[in-house]
Subunit: 327 residues, 2 copies
């Protein structure tokens, strides 16, 4: 009887092991070349006997946020936040009624607002984010995220993260990766939700930033956001932001726009196994379809050069079983 | 027999547990109030049933480097590196023979060099560090650390880390802390040795920095150090550097000079259990004795206010059994 019990136990254990190894680590991804490239890459860098093995300490993966981890249409979510802030602060700024780009923001005149360009948008961000301490700003962002709704989906913005990408973050971490956000968005805005939405702690968020000033208020120290941009973490700024914060070159980079081009180039130009991936928004039915001409998340050079550079292009329509988390 | 065996096993297990809990986690520290404060603090924040419990994710400890984790006399070690670089690069810069502060550096005229002030020293750092890619710079620093010797101790600079502090770093990490360097020194200089010397990975090093530029050299991307200071991580810059990189307030801060004052103030001004600690260099026999008048590592306000603020002042002479690692 004892031998039989042991034999049954052994059979059950090997069966259970087989089930575990056969379990799909990325169930929100349809079978296909994109998913296969991800799984093959992870298998290669985690196989201690393989020639592409990478020690856990060097398994750094970097993710753009807008359009890569969550949606970015009809405008960057942080811009929607800033426009709501303009409205909330307008009573204290009567001069905004006659002053661009604030006038356009108050009137919902998106065309004039867009025409004000990066400079106009930065002016709005500076005016609506500055003067607050880092703690105050985090509270304001959290309040907004708890109540604001996306105009098309009617859901809270943090419900519009991409289920396949959140799954991918977890899959990489389960394989010893450190997962980082490297975003053109504001670092303090991102930190207000990154831990809950993505499992990414504040110290693994790299983003654009305003200058901070250390001062005493009522005898207690605070850090106050200044109306001056300290760093723009976009395009060629992304490898710079990566080096400043992480100090080593990532082995995997995930983006969706030409703002991510240099980050993918920097990551994949090393001779060893590297993964570069672009999310292509081609699903108008479930999300949005845009690339070369979009004011937000323009993707042109990346599409042109992805094949030559060996980057994976993910079709949201074909490769993703789900887009956002189910309701 | 079976019951006796179990009883013996239980007795042995409780004995072993007793030995483990009685083992001294900080053998390089002499018994005394400083050591006791550290051990009590760690016990308080790691006790899940205590009122001062801090979740592991929030156990952030920040350490100054020069004078806190390794020696800083007769000059900051990075300054010794920069002066050696001036000599190495002098053949390519004949103009330096007639131009201050380079002339003083080449002639070993420390008085004139010191008189050139922070501006002069930054000029030397910019001239000797800029133009190199981050990879090239790391290699140059590692070469220098492998060969250069301290003028008094005759040892390599990385052998002049403080054994009690390296021990403390390990003790905190064993208790779930993330240990960070927050130094006025250059971030890329620190990263070249922090992992090996302290067990601190590049992404947990905050320091002063030069601007970086992303560019292609021979078709391959590189990050090139520019002759322009991007950030000075000293004094009120330390809380700013902490927020930029970590995004949350530390619960323990370790320093040795007035350059660390705001970092300790920021860390210890929260209402919960916090630890602020200053290393006081009072051991001329084994290391150096200096504080209020030293050009490097001046400590005056910290000494004056430590008691009021509840900060621990460590006497290297009395509290440390060893200073540097044994030969």
């Amino acid at each position: 009887m004892r031998d039989l019990a042991l034999a049954l136990l052994a059979a059950w254990l090997s069966l259970a092991a087989g089930v575990v190894s056969a379990a799909d680590p990325l169930p929100s991804w349809n079978a296909g070349p994109a998913k296969q490239r991800i799984v093959d890459f992870v298998a290669a860098v985690t196989d201690p006997s393989g020639k592409h093995f990478v020690a856990p300490a060097d398994r750094i993966a970097v993710f753009d946020n807008d359009g890569t981890l969550w949606s970015e249409q009809p405008m960057y979510f942080q811009l929607a936040f800033a426009l709501d802030r303009v409205k909330a602060l307008a009573p204290r700024h009567p001069e905004w009624k006659a002053k661009q780009p604030f006038k356009a923001a108050l009137e919902g005149d998106m065309k004039t607002l867009a025409a004000s360009g990066e400079h106009g948008l930065l002016e709005i961000v500076a005016a609506t984010h500055a003067g607050l301490t880092t703690d105050e700003f985090a509270a304001v962002v959290k309040d907004w995220l708890a109540t604001a709704r996306h105009p098309r989906f009617g859901r809270r913005y943090t419900e519009l993260t991409f289920a396949p990408m959140v799954e991918l973050l977890g899959y990489l971490r389960a394989n010893g990766f450190e997962t980082w956000i490297v975003s053109g968005g504001g670092v303090e805005f991102l930190r207000a939700f990154a831990a809950e939405a993505y499992g990414i702690p504040p110290q693994q968020v790299v983003g654009s930033s305003l200058e901070l000033k250390y001062e005493l208020r009522g005898g207690r120290p605070v850090l106050v956001q200044q109306p001056k941009v300290a760093f723009i973490d976009d395009k060629a700024g992304k490898p710079v932001g990566i080096q400043k914060a992480i100090g080593k070159r990532p082995i995997a980079a995930f983006g969706n726009s030409d703002g991510d081009f240099e980050m993918l180039e920097w990551t994949t130009s090393a001779p060893d196994a590297r993964l570069g991936l672009l999310v292509h928004h081609d699903d108008a039915a479930r999300e949005y379809a845009y690339d070369r001409t979009s004011p937000f998340g323009k993707l042109a050079r990346g599409l042109d050069e992805a094949a030559t550079r060996g980057w994976v292009v993910v079709s949201m329509k074909d490769d993703w079983r789900a887009i956002h988390a189910p309701r």
